[in-house]
C-alpha cells in the first residue's frame, strides 16, 4: 500500500482527526469517544465493532453529522462538518449521507415509495419526479411488488430493504448503518448483508456499526473500539 499522499487524499471519503465526544451525565463527564483518528477510503466497507458502550454508535453519529464532536474534526467527502450551521449539516445529511437504522424507522403512514422518496421530497422535489427514482430503487432492492405497501404490511426484512432504498435515494457519498440487522433473524439479516455487500461491490462506501462478529465479517475492514478508542484495525485485502 505505497500510494502517494496525493492519491490517498483523492481516495479519502471520511476523515476523523483527533475526534472526541464527551457527554455530561449529571455531574460526571463521560468520554464516549476520545482522540479518534481514522481515514475511511472511497469504496470501503468498514465494520466498526465493539461491545455496547464502546462508543461505536457515537462514532457513526459523528460521521453522519447527527452529532458533533466536542473536540477534533470530521471531514466527509472533503466537506468539514465543523464550523457550519445545523441547517448546513442537515443538508449534508440529506444529500450526502444515507442512514440505515436498527429499527428501520420508516414513517408508518407513508407507502414504501413515499418513504424512499422522503429525503428528496424534503429537498423540495415534486413527488412525480421522486416517484420514478424511488420505484427504481425499490426494484433494485427486490421490492418491485411492494411499492404501494405501508410499513405495517411489510416484513422486517422488507422494511429494512425499504430503509436501504431510502438511504440510497440521494446517491449518498456514504451509507451508514447502525446494527442494521439487530432486529432481524439470521437468515433475513444475511440477505440484508448480501444486499449491502453487492452495493459495496458497485462502489458504495459503507460504514456499519455492529456488535455482531458475523455482521462485521462482511466488511472489507474491521475496526474494533474499546472504551471510546480504536483498539484494532484489520484490513483485509482481497487475499
Amino acid at each position: 500500500m505505497d500510494r502517494s499522499d496525493e492519491k490517498t487524499e483523492e481516495l479519502t471519503m471520511i476523515e476523523l482527526r483527533h475526534a472526541g465526544r464527551k457527554f455530561r451525565q449529571g455531574l460526571r463527564e463521560v468520554k464516549a469517544l476520545s482522540d479518534v483518528s481514522l481515514v475511511i477510503r472511497k469504496g470501503e466497507f468498514l465494520s466498526i465493532m465493539g461491545p455496547s458502550g464502546s462508543g461505536k454508535s457515537t462514532l457513526l453519529n459523528l460521521i453522519g453529522g447527527l452529532d458533533r464532536p466536542t473536540e477534533g474534526e470530521v471531514i466527509l467527502d472533503g466537506r468539514p462538518l465543523h464550523g457550519i450551521t445545523d441547517d448546513q449539516v442537515t443538508l449534508l445529511r440529506r444529500r450526502h449521507v444515507g442512514y440505515v437504522f436498527q429499527f428501520f424507522n420508516l414513517l408508518p403512514l407513508l407507502t414504501a415509495c413515499e418513504n424512499v422518496g422522503l429525503p428528496l421530497l424534503l429537498d423540495g422535489l415534486p413527488f412525480s419526479k421522486v416517484k420514478q427514482k424511488a420505484e427504481a430503487l425499490l426494484e433494485k432492492v427486490g421490492l418491485a411488488e411492494r411499492i404501494e405497501h405501508r410499513p405495517d404490511q411489510l416484513s422486517g426484512g422488507e422494511m429494512q430493504r425499504v430503509a436501504i432504498a431510502r438511504a440510497l435515494i440521494a446517491d449518498p457519498a456514504v451509507l451508514l448503518a447502525d446494527e442494521p440487522t439487530g432486529n432481524l433473524d439470521s437468515h433475513t439479516g444475511e440477505e440484508i448483508f448480501l444486499l449491502l455487500k453487492s452495493l459495496n461491490d458497485r462502489g458504495q462506501t459503507i460504514v456499519m456499526v455492529t456488535h455482531d462478529p458475523k455482521a462485521a465479517a462482511y466488511g472489507s475492514r474491521i475496526v474494533t473500539l474499546k472504551d471510546g478508542h480504536p483498539a484494532q484495525d484489520i484490513c483485509i485485502g482481497e487475499d
Binding site: K197, P213, A216, Y218, I222, I234
Partner: protein
C-alpha cells in the same frame, strides 16, 4: 469414521472412480475437511470388505484400467440408517486454547488478555474469509447444488462467533477479577 458415510453419500448419487470421488468430496465439504487420496482409498477398501461398496474395472487406452466404484444395496441401507439418526455425542470441549488458559501465568493477566485479543482477531479474520467465500458462492451462477456448502460455511461462522463471544466473556471476567483484587 464419518468419511465412510461421506463416501457412501457421494456414491449414492452416481458411480465414480477414485479421482472423481476426491474432487466431488472437496467440492461439497472441502472447506472443513481435507482428505488425501490415501485416506480415500483405504476407506474404500474397508467399505468393500464390509460389502457396502463394489467396483467395476473400466478399460482405458494407453493406461491401466481404473476402478469405477458403486454403492451396494447393503451400503444404501446403512447410509439411510445413518442419515436418519441424530448425533448423540455433543462436540467435545477439548479446546487447545483452553489448555493454554489453564497454564498461563496467573500473576500476569495482561499477557492473558493480550492472548485473548490476538485469538479473537484470528477468529474474526477467519470469519471474514468464510463470509467472503459465502458471498462468492452466492453470487456465482452455478448449476450445482451449493446449499450444503453454504450451510457448512454458516456452521463455521456460527462456531467462530461462539468462540469470539466466549473469548469476550473470558476477557470481561478476567478484568472483573483483576478489579476485585485491587
Amino acid at each position: 469414521m464419518s468419511i465412510k458415510y461421506a463416501i457412501l453419500g457421494i456414491l449414492a448419487e452416481r458411480d465414480l472412480h477414485g479421482y472423481e470421488l476426491k474432487t466431488n468430496f472437496d467440492d461439497k465439504v472441502g472447506e472443513f475437511w481435507s482428505l488425501n487420496f490415501g485416506q480415500i482409498y483405504s476407506t474404500l477398501d474397508r467399505l468393500e470388505k464390509d460389502g457396502l461398496v463394489t467396483h467395476d474395472r473400466q478399460a482405458q487406452d494407453k493406461r491401466p484400467d481404473r476402478k469405477i466404484f458403486s454403492i451396494t444395496k447393503k451400503g444404501r441401507i446403512i447410509l439411510t440408517q445413518w442419515l436418519s439418526t441424530p448425533i448423540s455425542k455433543v462436540r467435545a470441549l477439548r479446546d487447545e486454547f483452553f489448555i493454554k488458559l489453564v497454564f498461563m501465568d496467573k500473576d500476569n493477566p495482561a499477557a492473558v488478555l493480550d492472548l485473548i485479543e490476538k485469538q479473537k482477531m484470528l477468529h474474526l479474520k477467519h470469519m471474514n474469509r468464510l463470509t467472503r467465500r459465502k458471498v462468492a458462492l452466492k453470487s456465482k451462477i452455478c448449476n450445482r447444488d451449493t446449499l450444503p456448502t453454504e450451510l457448512l460455511l454458516d456452521a463455521g461462522l456460527f462456531h467462530a462467533e461462539a468462540d469470539i463471544k466466549w473469548l469476550t466473556l473470558c476477557e470481561t471476567k478476567i478484568k472483573t477479577e483483576i478489579k476485585r483484587k485491587e
